[in-house]
C-alpha cells in the first residue's frame, strides 16, 4: 500500500483547535455555577514555624462569609506517592514554607473572602529555617519533618566502580549545581467543587492527574470514592505543575460540603509559585573513568536534591537523577548515590523530563571537559560511548531502538557543529497503565472514553487519530470524553510524555477489539474470512475486492442487531521491565526516546548576559501520530528550557525566573 495510513502521520487539525481559537474551551476558572461561593487560602508568611493557635472568630462574623476552615477540619494527611503521605490540606502544627496553607474561607465574593483572611489571627513561633542543600545537611535546629532533614537516601552500585576507576587511564571529577525552576503555566490552577443534595461531590479541576485527586479526596474527606466525581478541565499548560494533589482542591471540596453550595478556588499568580512542584535544584558530583581512547569504564554519580517542604514526587525524583545515565551512554560499571533533603521552600516535583535534565546537564558538561583533556572533539567522545540497540544497561534497563547516533549526526550536520562547538544529548522515558473504552453508534459515530486529559500537548487528537485509523473513519466521527472519574476508565495521568504511548496503545487495543467484532459480522454477510477485510474510508471491505463491502455504519447496525451495543475496551500495561533491586521501578521504559541538540550561545563577556540565537535539535521519537503536534512540542520544549525564541522586546526578565 502506497499510503499505509489515512489519519496517522498527517498534520491534521486537532479536534479541540476551533474551540481554543474561539475562546469557547472552558478552563476550570471559566466555570461558574448558581449560588457559587469563592474560596481563598490563608498562607504562611514564615518559612518554618510552629502554629500555636488559629483564631477564626472574627472572620466568621464578617457578613458574606459562609465557612472558615482550619487544619483541624481536614486532619488526614495525603501525598501523591504512597510512601510520602506527609502533607496536610491546611497545616496544623507547623508550616514548612512561605505559602504553606493554614486556613480557608468561603464567601460570597473574593473581596469578602480576602477581607476575612485578614481577620484570622494566627500565633506562630518561628523556627530556624533551611534554605539550601548545604543548610539542610548541616541541620542546625529542629528538622523540617521527623528526626532529620534527609527525606530519602538511595545507594546503588552495579559492578566494582572503585576498582575500575583506580585502574582507569583517565579520570575526571566534576561538581555541578543545577538551579531549580518552575513550570509557569499561563493558566493558574483552579478548582470548582459542588456537593449535591444527594450527597455526591463533584470537583472540576485543572489537573493532569484527576484519578490521583479522586483517591486523595476519598481519603482526606473520608468519603467513598463512588460518591466523588473528579473531572479534569483542559489544562492551560501543565508541564508537570498540575500533576500533584493540591490543598486548594481538597479545601474547595470541603468548603462545598460545609456550605452545601458550589465553591471555586482560583490561585493567584503568586500562589502558583507556592504550589510549585517544579524542577529540583540538584547538586551533583560525577566521577568517571575513561580509557585513553575516550571509552567510559565506570561512573560514580552523587546527587543532592533540594526538595522543599514536602515529599511530593521526591522519592521518584531522587531515583530519576540516577536512573538514566546508562541509557544515554554505555556505562559498564555504575554507582549512584542520591539524597533528597527537605528545605523550607515550596515543594519540588516533576517538570518536563522528571529528575533527568539535571544529571544530563552535569554529564554533558563533564564529558565536554573530558573530551578536551583527551584531545577528542566532544561529538567523537559521545560517539564512542553510544548504547547499542536491543541491549541491557548495567542497571537492568532494556534499550530497544536507539536513534541517538542519528540524532547526533543530524544536528551536527545541520548546525555545522564541527566548525563551531558544544553539544548536548538528552534521554527520557517512563511509567504504566491506561485504559480506553469505545462505544459505537448506529450512524457510525465513535465515542472514546479515556482518563487522560489534554494539557495542550494534543492528546485528544492522538487518541482520536488512532481510533479513526484503526476503524477506518474520519476524525470528525470521533467524540471524546476524557478525564472524568465517573465516566472514563482509570489513567494515571497526563505527565512524563506517557499519554501517546500508554493511552495511545490502549486506544489502539480498544479499537481493534471493536473492529474485530465488526469484521466478524461483515465477513459473515460477505461470505469471506474476517482477515480478508479492511476498514478504511468509512467502509469495511475485502482488501482484494474493494467493491465488496459495507458502509461502516451498516456494519455497526448489523453488529448491534446481532448482539447489542457495540462497545469495546483496551488497556495498556507496560511489560515487566524492572531489575532485581529496590528502586528499579524508576527508569524502565518500553521505549526510550533519544535526542541531540546543538545550541549556539552568545555571551556578553562584560555583563554575562546570554542569548541563544539558534538551536538545532533532533528527536528519535518513533512514529509521529501527528507531525505538526510533535514539532509544536519540540519547539515549545526548547523554548521552555532555553528561553529562546523569545519575541524581541518581550518583557523577558520577568518571563521565567530561573535558567533551565
Amino acid at each position: 500500500m502506497a499510503e499505509a495510513f489515512s489519519v496517522v502521520g498527517k498534520p491534521l487539525t486537532k479536534p479541540d483547535a476551533f474551540g481554543k481559537v474561539s475562546g469557547q474551551v472552558k478552563f476550570a476558572d471559566d466555570l461558574s455555577l448558581p449560588r457559587m461561593l469563592y474560596g481563598r487560602l490563608l498562607r504562611s508568611p514564615y518559612p518554618h514555624a510552629r502554629v500555636l493557635h488559629v483564631d477564626t472568630s472574627r472572620a466568621r462574623k464578617l457578613p458574606g462569609v459562609l465557612a472558615v476552615l482550619t487544619g483541624d477540619d481536614l486532619p488526614v494527611k495525603f501525598g501523591i506517592l504512597p510512601v510520602s503521605q506527609d502533607e496536610e490540606a491546611l497545616a496544623r502544627e507547623k508550616v514548612r514554607y512561605v505559602g504553606d496553607p493554614i486556613a480557608a474561607v468561603a464567601a460570597t465574593d473574593e473581596w469578602i473572602a480576602d477581607e476575612a483572611l485578614d481577620l484570622i489571627d494566627v500565633q506562630f513561633t518561628e523556627l530556624p529555617h533551611f534554605m539550601s542543600i548545604q543548610e539542610a545537611l548541616a541541620g542546625q535546629g529542629e528538622p523540617i519533618h521527623g528526626l532529620s532533614n534527609v527525606h530519602k537516601a538511595v545507594a546503588l552500585e552495579f559492578g566494582d566502580t572503585d576498582a575500575a576507576i583506580r585502574a582507569a587511564e583517565h579520570v575526571r571529577e566534576d561538581i555541578v549545581f543545577f538551579e531549580g525552576n518552575t513550570h509557569l503555566p499561563m493558566e493558574q490552577h483552579a478548582a470548582v467543587a459542588q456537593y449535591a443534595a444527594d450527597g455526591k461531590l463533584t470537583l472540576w479541576t485543572s489537573s493532569q492527574t484527576p484519578h490521583y485527586v479522586h483517591r486523595a479526596l476519598g481519603k482526606v474527606l473520608d468519603l467513598p470514592m463512588s460518591r466523588i466525581r473528579v473531572i479534569a478541565t483542559p489544562n492551560g499548560g501543565g508541564f508537570g505543575g498540575k500533576s500533584d494533589i493540591f490543598a486548594h482542591e481538597l479545601v474547595a471540596a470541603k468548603l462545598a460540603i460545609a456550605t452545601a453550595r458550589p465553591v471555586k478556588i482560583t490561585l493567584t499568580r503568586e500562589e502558583v509559585f507556592y504550589a510549585h512542584r517544579g524542577r529540583h535544584p540538584v547538586l551533583m558530583k560525577v566521577k568517571t573513568g575513561f580509557t585513553r581512547g575516550g571509552q567510559i569504564t565506570a561512573m560514580q554519580f552523587q546527587s543532592f536534591l533540594d526538595g522543599g517542604g514536602y515529599g511530593s514526587y521526591g522519592v521518584a525524583s531522587t531515583y530519576y537523577t540516577g536512573a538514566l545515565q546508562a541509557t544515554t551512554y554505555a556505562i559498564p560499571r555504575y554507582r549512584f548515590e542520591g539524597v533528597r533533603l527537605f528545605t523550607n521552600k515550596p515543594p519540588c516535583g516533576p517538570k518536563r523530563g522528571h529528575g533527568t535534565p539535571q544529571p544530563r546537564f552535569a554529564l554533558e558538561i563533564h564529558f565536554d571537559k573530558v573530551a578536551e583533556e583527551l584531545g577528542l572533539d566532544p561529538v567523537e567522545l559521545r560517539r564512542r560511548n553510544l548504547p547499542s540497540p536491543d541491549s541491557q544497561t548495567v542497571n537492568w534497563l532494556r534499550i530497544t531502538s536507539c536513534g541517538l547516533e542519528d540524532c547526533i549526526n543530524k544536528v551536527v550536520e545541520g548546525s555545522r557543529f564541527l566548525e563551531r562547538r558544544t553539544s548536548m544529548p538528552l534521554g527520557r522515558g517512563l511509567m504504566p497503565h491506561s485504559e480506553v473504552q469505545l462505544k459505537l453508534d448506529r450512524n457510525g459515530g465513535v465515542l472514546v472514553l479515556c482518563g487522560a486529559i489534554d494539557i495542550g500537548q494534543g492528546s485528544d487528537h492522538i487518541l482520536a487519530a488512532i481510533v479513526a485509523e484503526v476503524l477506518g473513519v474520519a476524525l470528525d466521527d470521533i467524540q471524546l470524553t476524557t478525564a472524568d472519574t465517573d465516566l472514563t476508565p482509570i489513567d494515571l495521568g497526563s505527565y512524563s510524555s506517557r499519554v501517546t504511548f500508554m493511552a495511545g496503545n490502549a486506544a489502539k487495543a480498544a479499537a481493534e477489539t471493536v473492529r474485530d467484532r465488526l469484521f466478524r459480522v461483515v465477513a459473515r454477510s460477505l461470505h469471506c474470512d474476517a482477515d480478508e477485510l479492511m476498514a478504511r474510508d468509512h467502509r469495511i471491505y475485502r482488501s482484494d475486492r474493494p467493491a465488496e463491502g459495507l458502509i461502516f455504519a451498516q456494519a455497526v447496525q448489523l453488529a448491534e442487531a446481532e448482539s447489542g451495543v457495540v462497545t469495546g475496551s483496551g488497556s495498556y500495561t507496560p511489560p515487566k521491565l524492572a531489575g532485581p533491586y529496590k528502586g528499579s521501578g524508576v527508569g524502565p521504559s518500553p521505549a526510550y526516546s533519544y535526542s541531540a541538540a546543538v545550541v549556539e550561545v552568545d555571551c556578553d563577556l562584560k555583563t554575562g548576559e546570554v542569548k541563544v540565537p539558534e538551536v538545532w535539535i533532533a528527536h528519535d521519537i518513533g512514529r509521529a501520530i501527528n507531525p505538526m503536534l510533535v514539532i509544536g512540542q519540540v519547539e515549545g520544549s526548547v523554548y521552555i528550557i532555553a528561553r529562546v525564541q523569545e519575541p524581541d522586546g518581550a518583557r523577558s526578565a520577568r518571563h521565567a525566573h530561573l535558567p533551565g
Binding site: 487539525t13 483547535a17 474561539s22 499561563m186 499548560g237 495542550g456 505538526m628 525564541q645 518581550a650 518571563h655
Partner: protein, 161 residues
C-alpha cells in the same frame, strides 16, 4: 455588596450595547468574565504583566485587568467571542487552528486579538513586526514559531477578509 454600592455601567462589547450594575472596583476583566459571561478573555497575573487578559478597545490591544469599565463608556470593546464573523472564523483563527498555533489554548484569545490589531493597521507585516506586536503576550507552550507562521499564513490568505 448591596445594590446601593453598585454603579451602572454601559459598555459596547462585540458590537452590542449592554448596561449592567457592578461594584465600582471591578476591573473590565472581571466584568467581562463574571458579569457578561465572556470567559474567552483569560487572566494570568491580573497585574499587567502577561497580556492573557488582552482585548481590543477601539481596535487597539488593551489589558482588561488594568482597566475600569466606567472609563470605557462609549468605547468599542472586542473580545475573542466577537472575532469570528458569525459561523465563519476570522482568517487568523483558522490559521491558528490549522497550524497548531494553539497548544493549551490559554494565551490564544489574547494572541489572536493582538495579531488582529496588528493586521488591521499593517496588513502585510514583516516577521520582525509580528514578533514586536506579539512580544508582550506570553505563551509558555508553543515557543512562538507556530504562532508567527500562523499569522503569516493568515496574511497570505488576506486576513482582512
Amino acid at each position: 455588596m448591596s445594590i446601593a454600592d453598585k454603579v451602572a455601567v454601559r459598555l459596547r462589547v462585540n458590537g452590542e450595547d449592554t448596561a449592567i450594575m457592578v461594584p465600582p472596583y471591578k476591573t473590565l476583566l472581571e466584568v467581562l468574565r463574571e458579569d457578561l459571561g465572556l470567559t474567552g478573555t483569560k487572566h494570568g497575573c491580573e497585574l499587567g504583566e502577561c497580556s492573557m487578559c488582552g482585548v481590543l478597545v477601539d481596535g487597539k490591544p488593551f489589558l482588561s485587568c488594568l482597566a475600569m469599565p466606567l472609563d470605557l463608556e462609549g468605547r468599542d470593546v472586542m473580545t475573542i467571542e466577537g472575532m469570528a464573523r458569525g459561523r465563519h472564523p476570522h482568517p487568523l483563527q483558522a490559521a491558528f487552528a490549522e497550524l497548531g498555533a494553539a497548544q493549551c489554548g490559554y494565551c490564544t484569545p489574547a494572541m489572536l486579538l493582538t495579531a488582529k490589531a496588528l493586521l488591521d493597521r499593517e496588513p502585510r507585516p514583516s516577521r520582525e513586526a509580528i514578533k514586536a506586536a506579539l512580544s508582550g503576550v506570553l505563551c509558555r507552550c508553543t515557543g512562538y514559531l507556530k504562532i508567527f507562521e500562523a499569522v503569516e499564513l493568515a496574511v497570505s490568505r488576506g486576513a482582512d477578509g
